[in-house]
Symmetry: C2
Subunit: 210 residues, 2 copies
DNA sequence: TCGTGTATAATTGTATACAAAGATACAGAA
DNA sequence: TTCTGTATCTTTGTATACAATTATACACGA
């Protein structure tokens, strides 16, 4: 396991990013550094360093009035899926070509867990495994650029995926689509991986954006 | 004009990002916060806030040893063009549909300046106008997501575009391609804009990645 | 020569003090 | 009532002090 101590700044960033992307703070509401100091129990320094990163992701905006929560809108959602539809097939095609056996094994484990939780109707963990599967795919492309571009897009969809994973038939089909993607990668078939991912993103888009 | 005072943290970020993306610090070299304090004449606070952002862009990496410069590699370059080829045509098609007359006028002005500097063989300013043209296109799509995704990709190519703009025949053709894109947008022809941008990115890719 | 342990120095991480800009509340005049 | 000016408070921006971890240099022994 990874015992590396992670800085307060990183912890604060992860927590704030998650809270904002899950919609815990409504769009248009204001936070202040002082309030975050109270809530999180750390000084302003790590909080400010987090805010700079959140600002760069355009999910907050800082002014003399305070910290404006932007979050992710439905318009953003549509644009995100438009981009993912263009990009993810290319990325998995690459992954099919260059992924290591270890990476493929990890994808397989994640998919098995997803299947398990689908059977249990545990939507929180389904969502987590779904996220992990995509993240592993990005990483398996061995491209920092692909990873850095797609991971933020995927994270921003979080809030909207909730209904999707709670729908049983969609959860089943989503699992099947993931399995098709993994099979193509296991077979080192880049074209099949491309097609499988294209179908998967199209279906996810239809189901979420509607 | 914009007289808004910009924070030291923002100034430091812009300067460091530029220096790194232009290759001023070689990949693999180390900086320290202390050295930057000396060089830039500001305290560690704004410098650290900049570093967190650069870290997020994966162009530096901070450890107990110091600040490792990553910059942009040739592999990154190829992946960036692969992504831009997928994304930019879609973005200009959108821009053709939604850009305001003011935005189109600004594109026209930028293009005229590009023509002027091409005539003068002023490669620095050609490069600047080229960047500005693309940035205006992203903005004219009226999509924060498109803008946030494409602008970093475009900025990372900076260093490699130098040879391109210094090549007279490529500079001429690049200008002509820009004009084709703008004409399509002026005509509100999304399909033509899509095709023109696709051709432009393909040509740029061939010329730069080779 | 090579390794090892230790002291020192260098570096980042965090907290806090102070500065500056701006928002807010309120009194008073038209 | 409505507007305006002013004092105060709130909020972010910056610098600095201190803590903790890690790298480095060097002496010493095998």
């Amino acid at each position: 396991m990874n015992h590396k101590t992670v800085s307060l700044a990183d912890q604060v960033f992860e927590r704030l990013e998650n809270d904002i992307l899950l919609g815990k703070y409504p769009r248009g509401s204001y936070l202040t550094e002082h309030a975050l100091v109270e809530d999180l129990g750390v000084s302003r320094t790590p909080i400010r360093e987090s805010l700079r990163r959140l600002e760069q992701e355009h999910i907050i905006e800082v002014s003399s009035r305070g910290i404006l929560v932007l979050g992710v809108t439905l318009d953003d959602l549509a644009d995100i899926y438009a981009m993912r539809l263009q990009l993810e097939p290319m990325v998995v095609a690459r992954a099919a070509a260059v992924a290591t056996d270890e990476e493929i094994a990890e994808l397989r484990e994640t998919l098995e867990l997803q299947q398990y939780y689908v059977g249990r109707h545990d939507s929180d963990r389904i969502k987590f495994m779904d996220s992990k599967f995509h993240e592993l795919l990005y990483r398996a492309s061995h491209s920092t650029v692909f990873y850095d571009t797609l991971l933020p897009l995927h994270k921003k969809v979080q809030k909207f995926r909730k209904a999707s994973v709670e729908n049983e038939s969609r959860a089943d089909r989503s699992f099947a689509e993931h399995r098709a993607i993994l099979s193509a990668i296991e077979a080192r078939d880049a074209d099949a991986a491309y097609a499988a991912m294209q179908a998967h993103v199209e279906n996810a888009k239809m189901h979420i954006v509607k």
